[in-house]
């Protein structure tokens, strides 16, 4: 059979006019050739696409309503109608998600600021006063508002844990594992007290001589692994490896060796026994639990992100997921549904590192070339929201980029952090000479919205930052860790303005306009999530995004 005949028969089949004889002829051709089947599949695909495109959107009254409420996405509207009830319900649902949540305008910015301050490393304390690093945290709860993250420096003083487990690395080299509720006093890099709880210590040679004090016992390590348990008046010591000196008030110093234990209560004498490693956290067990915990956390986060990515108004959902396949190493997928293949980001220079928790990848921006390029096309919107999880390692530049549109042309946003740690957001608008209005340099006019200073020079903690902008009112609201920190309108406001993105960069400002000198604005830090919406979200929605990502 020649190609022409085959084409004729396929067309006849598609048009429903195939005769019995023709059918047999076509079927034989298809059964005998994979190439013919492949061509057949292509033509069928084209037929389906053409039919979807030619379809008349609305025919019934109820479905018509569903259509009219939908945005003018042609094919979407068609499909919404085709599904009848299913689609009508979904249209209502989508509508409710997009607009049903009220705006919270009662937030008190000053209060939030006061609350946000203790979260940063206090600037009046220098690193030299620290004695240890919190190197591992597993599902740990701390009393009050205290929040510790892995990598935090610990100052001498009380350290209380309500539940979970942590590992503390003393600057001397000694390592302390704490499991479950405990109350420990960190004295120096060489000394600590345990008032309550279960602790395992591992002391490598450089840290020999590390002292751990219990209510009824002082322990000097001689290079070993041992554990202590303090419960009320009872103090016990278990040596798993090497030996330690135990000083019990009222009795001679004893050397406790591998496999032995010592127990002392206030009103009873010292009892020697056998050590029980199984009762204490071991490094291996600790690692296993930690891994399990973070895997679970990653899973929960992914599930939560499945809702985020389906938000009706989301256009950019960059989750910074790294693909094991190296081929995709530079790809920063946009997970927003429906998929926009063109909007996947491309990482330039930036390295994959650990994000908010182990197992959550992030991109690290360090050198002036590092950036993620994205293209969101020049669709115009009436507003926007950008929300990101970032870790600022330093404020090296006068302006440090979060998301910058390439050209900063009419309606395009710039979002950055200035050197004093303030979030700054602006949208570029062509000057339209409003009577009495101020104009900035050149033919552009843009109001810069600042937050109060939020980032210290060496904050190095993960924070959630967000900005919403409503082009219909020119009001911008910025958020820090879920709380509103600035809300301001613009006296340049004009009716009929919109916002758009075009090509942009996360973490840098790239592809300069020809002939325009280009300042370096690369971020020094990490980004592990960047969401972009085509409307201003409410304060409650921003708070929800923060909650979702910080748990």
């Amino acid at each position: 059979m020649n190609d022409l005949r085959f084409t004729e028969l396929v067309s006849a089949w598609l048009d429903g006019s195939l005769s019995e004889t023709e059918s047999a002829e076509l079927q034989t051709a298809l059964e005998n050739s994979a190439d013919r089947r492949s061509d057949f599949v292509d033509v069928c695909g084209l037929d389906a696409d053409l039919r979807l495109m030619s379809d008349v959107p609305c025919q019934h009254e109820m479905q018509a309503n569903a259509c009219n409420d939908r945005p003018v996405v042609h094919s979407l509207a068609i499909r919404a109608c085709k599904w009848g009830l299913l689609a009508a319900t979904s249209a209502v649902l989508l509508f409710a998600i997009g607009y049903g949540i009220g705006r919270d305008r009662n937030s008190d910015a000053t209060q939030h600021l006061a609350m946000s301050e203790p979260a940063s490393t206090p600037q009046d304390e220098t690193v030299e006063s620290g004695c240890a690093v919190l190197s591992r945290v597993v599902d740990a709860k701390f009393p009050g508002d205290t929040q510790y993250e892995e990598g935090d420096s610990l100052q001498p003083g009380q350290f209380k844990l309500l539940s979970g487990a942590v590992q503390i690395d003393f600057f001397s080299g000694a390592t302390m594992l704490i499991d479950d509720a405990a109350n420990v006093n960190l004295i120096s890099s060489w000394e600590a007290e345990c008032a309550h709880g279960k602790i395992t210590m591992r002391v490598p040679p450089p840290a020999i001589g590390f002292r751990l004090n219990l209510p009824e016992m002082k322990i000097v390590d001689l290079g070993t692994e041992f554990a202590v348990e303090v419960d009320g008046d009872d103090s016990s010591l278990h040596v798993f490896e090497g030996e330690v000196e135990a000083h019990v008030p009222g009795s001679q110093m004893q050397v406790i060796r591998e496999g032995s234990s010592l127990k002392k209560s206030t009103d009873s004498s010292v009892v020697a026994g056998v050590s029980t490693p199984a009762n204490f956290p071991s490094v291996e067990e600790f690692e296993r639990r930690r891994e399990e915990y973070y895997q679970q956390k990653t899973k929960q986060w992914r599930e939560a992100m499945n809702k985020v990515r389906s938000h009706e108004r989301i256009i950019g959902c960059y989750q910074f997921r790294r693909w094991p396949d190296k081929k995709w190493d530079r790809l920063v997928n946009n997970f927003a549904i429906p998929k926009r293949r063109y909007s996947h980001g491309s990482a330039v220079g930036a390295r994959w590192v650990e994000g908010r928790w182990p197992g959550k990848p992030a991109l690290e921006f360090k050198s002036p070339g590092d950036r993620v390029r994205i293209n969101l096309k020049r669709t115009k919107y009436q507003g926007l929201t950008m929300a990101a999880w970032i870790r600022v390692d330093g404020l090296d530049r006068k302006y440090n980029a979060l998301l910058m549109s390439d050209g900063y042309e009419d309606g395009e946003p710039h979002w950055q952090i200035d050197q004093s740690g303030r979030l700054m957001f602006s949208v570029s608008y062509d000057r339209s000479s409003p009577p009495g209005g101020r104009t900035d340099n050149g033919n552009r006019q843009s109001k810069v919205f600042y937050s109060p200073p939020l980032f210290g020079a060496s904050d190095r903690r993960w924070h959630h930052v967000a900005v919403t902008f409503d082009a219909r009112t020119s009001e911008a609201v910025q958020y820090f860790d879920g709380k509103e920190v600035s809300r301001e309108g613009s006296d340049h406001h004009h009716e009929g303005r919109s916002v758009t993105f075009g090509t942009c960069e996360i973490g840098n400002w790239g592809l300069p306009l020809e002939g325009v000198p280009f300042p370096i604005r690369n971020l020094n830090g990490r980004v592990d999530e960047f969401l972009i919406y085509q409307e201003p979200l409410s304060g409650d929605e921003i708070a929800a995004l923060y909650e979702l990502g910080s748990q």
Binding site: T7, E8, S11, A12, W13, D15, G16, S17, L18, S19, E20, E22, S23, Q27, L30, E31, A34, R37, S38, D39, F40, V41, D42, V43, C44, G45, L46, D47, A48, D49, L50, R51, L52, M53, S54, D55, V56, S75, L76, R79, A80, K82, W83, L86, A87, T89, S90, L93, L94, A96, I97, N306, K307, S310, I337, P338, K339, R340, R341
Partner: protein
């Protein structure tokens, strides 16, 4: 918003995203567009009923195609014998065939739109009109008082022209 409605919303969004792919897939397995609509509707319902059994929504597309495949084969059996209904063996073969266009729905449809723009107005109108629901080439020719065979030939040529153009467009974009 409760858990159910949120998962429903996710489902609908995923379904909308996959819908043209599932239609294109089912198109080769059942004879008419009306049959495609029937199967896709049934597929959507089954998928929603089983949605909570799907562990990884990133695999929604493949999962939906499996349901569509099963539903298409089931639907075929309910059809009366007709020259348009292919043999079981061929239908299975077609269900496994992949075609030469690998690009995703959005890219493919965008390419199609571009290619349609390249056609002159009359040709574009013709190809879109004969693909409207319920319209056949024969009816179109009769209503427009044109010789049936000539319309058939034109439509065939336009299909081939569009396919070539789509493949070329996708290849130029490095997508096929």
């Amino acid at each position: 918003m409760n858990e159910d409605s949120s998962s429903y919303e996710t489902f609908v969004r995923l379904l909308i995203e996959e819908e043209s792919a599932v239609r294109a897939y089912v198109r080769r397995l059942v004879p008419t567009w009306h049959d495609v609509e029937e199967v896709v509707q049934q597929t959507s319902l089954i998928a929603w009923k089983k949605f909570d059994e799907l562990d990884d929504i990133d695999r929604f597309g493949g999962w939906l195609m499996m349901i569509a495949r099963f539903e298409s084969l089931k639907y075929r059996r309910s059809l009366a014998r007709s020259p348009l209904v292919f043999s079981d063996k061929l239908t299975e073969q077609l269900a496994d065939a992949t075609g030469t266009i690998a690009a995703g729905d959005a890219d493919r449809q965008q390419a199609l739109e571009r290619c349609l723009q390249k056609l002159d107005q009359a040709k574009r109108d013709l190809i879109l009109k004969v693909h409207k629901p319920g319209v056949t080439v024969r009816e179109y020719a009769q209503q427009n008082d044109r010789p049936e065979q000539a319309v058939y030939k034109s439509v065939q040529r336009l299909r081939q022209q569009l396919l070539r153009c789509i493949k070329q467009t996708l290849a130029d974009q490095g997508l096929s």
